[in-house]
Symmetry: C2
Subunit: 205 residues, 2 copies
C-alpha cells in the first residue's frame, strides 16, 4: 500500500500542527495545505514570527506578564495606580480585564492556579513573589480575580491566608453574580443566591 | 492606554496565526500561548517542518499530486493500474480515495474546479495536462471524481467535451446516490431520484 500522505514533508508539518490544542489531523492538513498555497515569503513570515517570539519574549520581573522588555508596559506606565494589584491566573486574563478599561492598577500573573488533580501546588505558581511584592511595595489593595471554580477558590483562600500578616492590606474578590444580559430564570442557584446575598445599593446612572 | 497585547512579539505571532483559515484572533492567541509554554526545541520543530515543507515540497510532474520527488509515490508505484486515471479536485480528495483502499489506478489532480464566480476558468486548472496525458499514455478509462456541485458538474462536462476526440477512452462518473448509513426518508429528492434511476443489479455478498 502507498502511504496515506503522499509526502513526508507534508506529513511532518501536519503532525506538528496536530500537536496544537484543539487541532486534529484533518484541520492540521487543511491549515498546512493552505500554507502550501501561499507565497513562500508569507509562510516564512509566520514561522519567523513564531520562532522570534519563542526565543525573544520575556516575562515581566514584577508582575510576570508577558513582555518585550524586563518590565511590562503596564508595570512601567507611570499613570497606573501602584497601590492596587489584581491577581489573575494568566496573560489572557490580563488582556480581558484591560479590554474592560475599568481597571487602572497593576497586575500579578500567577501563571496557573492550585490544582492538586493536575499536580499544581502553591510552589508551582507565582504566590511567593506576590507575598514578596506586598511586603516590599506600597500596596493597599489586592484584588483576587481568579475564575470562580473549585481551584480558583482554593487558590484565593491560600493567598488570603498568606497575606493575612499584612493587616493594613485590603484583600477583595471580584463580584460574583448574575452576568449582564443573562435571564434570571436560567441562572444557576449558587450564582443567583450569591447575587442576592451580595446585593449592592441601587445607583442612578 | 496601554495596548491590548503586552508584547509586540506576541502580537505579530498571533496576527500570523489569525491569517490561517478558520482561526480567529482568540484561537490564535490560545495557540501562540500554548507554543510559548512548550520547549524551544519543540517550537522550532514546528517552524522548521513548515518552512522545510514550503521550500522543498514538489508537485508530481505526471498527476500534480504533492510529492517529495519529481514523481509521486502513486505514479511511481509499479503495482498501480496505469490504464485508469481518476480526476480529482485536490490533494485531500486523493487521500480520501486512497483511504477507501478501493482504487488501484492513477490520479490526476486538477488543483481546483471551474468556478466563474471565483474567476477560475478551464485554463487555471490542470485540464490541458490531462488531455495531453490521455493522448500520450495508454489510458483506457478516465473516472471523473469531482464533488457533485454546480462547479463540479461544469468541470465534468468541460472535461468530457475535451476528451470526446479520444473515442477509445471510456469516461465514467463516480456513483451518486444515497449515502451508506443514511435514512431514505431524509435524503434530498435529487439524490434519491438519481439513486433510483442509477439502480444497480442486486448482488449477494
Amino acid at each position: 500500500m502507498t502511504p496515506s500522505y503522499p509526502s513526508q514533508l507534508l506529513e511532518s508539518a501536519v503532525g506538528e500542527f496536530a500537536k496544537l490544542p484543539g487541532i486534529g489531523r484533518k484541520t492540521a492538513l487543511r491549515l498546512v495545505l493552505h500554507l502550501l498555497r501561499q507565497e513562500t515569503a508569507d509562510v516564512l513570515q509566520l514561522t519567523d514570527a513564531v520562532s522570534r517570539m519563542k526565543q525573544q519574549v520575556k516575562y515581566c520581573k514584577v508582575c510576570h506578564n508577558i513582555s518585550d522588555q524586563d518590565c511590562c508596559p503596564i508595570c512601567s506606565d507611570p499613570r497606573r495606580d501602584r497601590s492596587t494589584v489584581c491577581v489573575v491566573e494568566n496573560i489572557q486574563d490580563v488582556m480581558a480585564i484591560e479590554n474592560t478599561q475599568q481597571y487602572h492598577g497593576l497586575y500579578h500573573v500567577l501563571g496557573g492556579i492550585i490544582s492538586p488533580m493536575d499536580g499544581i501546588g502553591p510552589n508551582d505558581i507565582e504566590i511567593e513573589s506576590l507575598v514578596n511584592r506586598v511586603g516590599k511595595e506600597n500596596i493597599e489593595e489586592v484584588i483576587l480575580a481568579l475564575s470562580p471554580t473549585m481551584e480558583g477558590d482554593t487558590t484565593n483562600f491560600y493567598i488570603f491566608r498568606k497575606l493575612a500578616p499584612f493587616s493594613n492590606v485590603k484583600i477583595t474578590l471580584i463580584a460574583r453574580g448574575i452576568a449582564v444580559g443573562n435571564e434570571l430564570e436560567y441562572t444557576d442557584e449558587v450564582t443567583l443566591g450569591r447575587s442576592i446575598l451580595n446585593r449592592t445599593p441601587f445607583e442612578e446612572k
